[in-house]
Amino acid sequence: MKFTSILTGAALALGLAGAAMAQDKTKVGFVYVGPVGDGGWTYEHNQGRLAVEKEFGDAVETVFQENVPEGADAERVLTQMALSGADLIFTTSFGYMDPTVNVAAKFPNVKFEHATGYKRADNVSTYSARFYEGRAIQGHIAGKMTKSNVIGYIASFPIPEVIRGINSAYIHAKKVNPDVEFKIIWAYTWFDPAKEADAAKALIEQGADVILQHTDSTAPQAAAEQAGNVITFGQASDMGEYAPMPRVSSIIDNWAPYYLARTKAVMDGTWTSVDTWDGIGAGMVGIGEISDAVPADVKAEALAMKDAIAAGTYHPFTGPLKKQDGSDWLAEGEVADDGTLAGMGFYVEGIVGDIPQ
């Protein structure tokens, strides 16, 4: 007998207990990669959880676990959550993909929602946001505002989502400022204030006067504030406490509407496995207020771009675009398809450096 069959047995036995409990309250679990107080990624997911509690009140019970390492530990945390009678579990980081799929196979009656991944099953949905739409607006503002023409980028892991963001920001910075140059540091973390601060300082020392980040803490904002005359953008959360300088705008993840809809679906028994990828138009990606540090004309252009993206009249990846190696990617007027974007593993032409291999 294999490990899985034992667990299935345990799951079945306990599933009965879980079902009995579920009759009065729908239990929704959240697994977080960082602490809820990170002020970025996990903070926004937790805001979504609080919105679920607020909306449904006594009809739901939510539980969460923070700082869960991506890997073997995640599988145990998920199993325990499912054993405790959760009906719906949101796993909110890419690295939870295999653990989510594995645990979901053992608990067919529990619904799972995995953020930013690509593996689905009958009881596993995936969801993500088109952050690259926000990156386009960031790139535009950054390209207009840089004086040194050096833009620093704190990247987390070399996965398509991050590469997409770099490309989108670069394309739009380059469009308004042909002399712009990107310096990219791979931090290999989603949340590590000390590492992020070091990366920001290193970039500032190399002449960057704009810092973009794909990591979740406010440490780069603090480093920029200290350096002075360096602008930043809030990541995942508004990070408004650093406005109007250094934080001039932000990309805000707004998970609440999605979490409400999915929780409702479980309560109504209408939940099915789906793949959701929403952007500015659907409200999953928000652009934080553009501060007064940004000149009025730049702000107006940025807002116009935001409206065009929301309306679907402009796509951030519109040709002509070439790949870094000079080969053609998109022809004039051609728009990138979702499949290519989802698995993006290349830089666009003009970015210096290699994606870590």
Binding site: K2, L14, N67, D73, R76, G95, P158, Y188, Q357
Partner: protein, 361 residues
Amino acid sequence: MLRLEKRPTPSRFWAAMTPVLAVLATMIAGGILFAILGKNPFEAIRIIFWDPLFHEQFAAYSRPQLLVKAGPLILIAIGLSLGFRAGIWNIGAEGQYIMGAICGAGAGLALYPSESFLIFPLMILAGALGGWAWAMIPAILKTRFGTNEILVSLMLVYVAENILASVSSGLLRNPEGRGFPGSRNLQQWDASANTEIIAGTGMHWGVAAGFIAVIFAYVLLNKHILGFQIRLTGESPRAARFAGVNPTRLILICLGLSGALAGLAGMFEVTGPAGQISIDFGSGYGFTAIIVAFLGRLHPVGILLAGLLMALTYIGGELAQLMLGLPSAAIQLFQGMLLFFLLAMDVLSNFRIRFGKTEVA
């Protein structure tokens, strides 16, 4: 007045008692912490120490998980304790653990998708070799050039982490993974899967190796001349010299053994619970094992118990987060207290407490 008087030799009684006292003190201080956080301290302590073993809903799952979590800790800590006893400080087990996993996984994946039964033994060998080779770097640098093995082994952890990041997104990346970093899942490939030896117990090959290592270390330290030399070197390096102990040989053996065991632990982890090489594969077992080694008083049986206790606080801590909504930082603080109190209580085994006036020297 309270006064400390150094004992001529450390007390055996207190050496055995301090871990117990440390656990009790941790429970008390932790209980106060949980109370301040507005949780029922008795309930929290019960969830951490009792529920993983006996809770009707979770225990069936969490009891085997205890072994899964303790296995690598014990395996690594046993290796470390041999060196620590001789005063050879391998702080870089985390790096050796990672390299063992990479080499083990690499050896297997090179032969994918063969179904030969020889693959798993080959991977075990490669894993041990990987960890051994990584530990040989500080060992040779120390014996040849007199470098400090603490610094070198620790720094090599960060090198190993970068190699891990590199192979996850390059050399060992799953060709069917759509460009995402991470290797093929070794657990889902029968030839490489580190399965449970007895289903439902959590007893996978790595845990078995951990138990074997405990017995091996016990025999080595008590019955073998090498064990005698290790103990002698730790207790009195000068006497060891006179007794003809070759320090170079001892350094190579101790670092090599601890590296090989850490490498094995990494290999068993990547083929079992973790399943794949990924950027964040290293989850700190190599560092936690240092705590386990000291918590177990560098004694094989002590380490076995300490590894299980440490695993219990991890799993119980997760349950406490889930059931009481305790923040994870509070759990980490709780685990930190354990080591803190252990070190603080050590004073009892090395010193005698006297009541009375301070004597003027």
